[in-house]
Symmetry: C2
Subunit: 98 residues, 2 copies
């Protein structure tokens, strides 16, 4: 299992319709991609980081994860929404430690 996550801050105002639209589109556009499991949209609520949201999803293995990265729906989301609307982000991927 690979858990792919990203924490980020948007250029939009907190609570704005643009913010809600970004998060809604992320769910609608990424969830149907084959192999995506346990998709979550999260608020980052800790006071020690300026990141405000996170997307988290799981893949069965590296090949499935690669298929997601290359999928046209993911590529379109990155180009059309992620790059223009995200101010700062950190990508973190995890595997369970034995």
């Amino acid at each position: 299992m690979i858990r792919h996550t990203v924490v980020f801050r948007l250029r939009h105002d907190a609570g704005s319709e643009a913010e809600a639209g970004f998060l809604r589109t992320a769910r609608e556009q990424l969830t149907p991609i084959p192999g995506v499991e346990r998709f979550e949209v999260l608020r980052q609520t800790g006071s020690q980081s300026a990141y405000r949201f996170s997307l988290s999803m799981e893949f069965a293995d590296a090949a499935t994860y690669a298929g997601y990265n290359d999928h046209p729906a993911h590529q379109a989301f990155v180009q059309d929404r992620w790059i223009p609307e995200v101010e700062e982000f950190l990508e973190l991927d995890f595997e369970v430690h034995a």
Copy 2:
């Protein structure tokens, strides 16, 4: 639900006994604290971050999370292991976005 996570890099060499001991102690000392659910020790495998491990756990609510923070077993772990052995870390807490 509050998911409390921290990503970090240890001062120890990768694959060392000191590294394994830190991770083992984290699990042994923190898991029994009341209110800790879904405790996970994770490896950070993404190439875009220098953090190498993560601890993740969930709490039912803010009061339970506060009880964990104040618990003597957590305080002892922070003083005796975390501060001396962790080189760099980032704390991220999450709640599910409606």
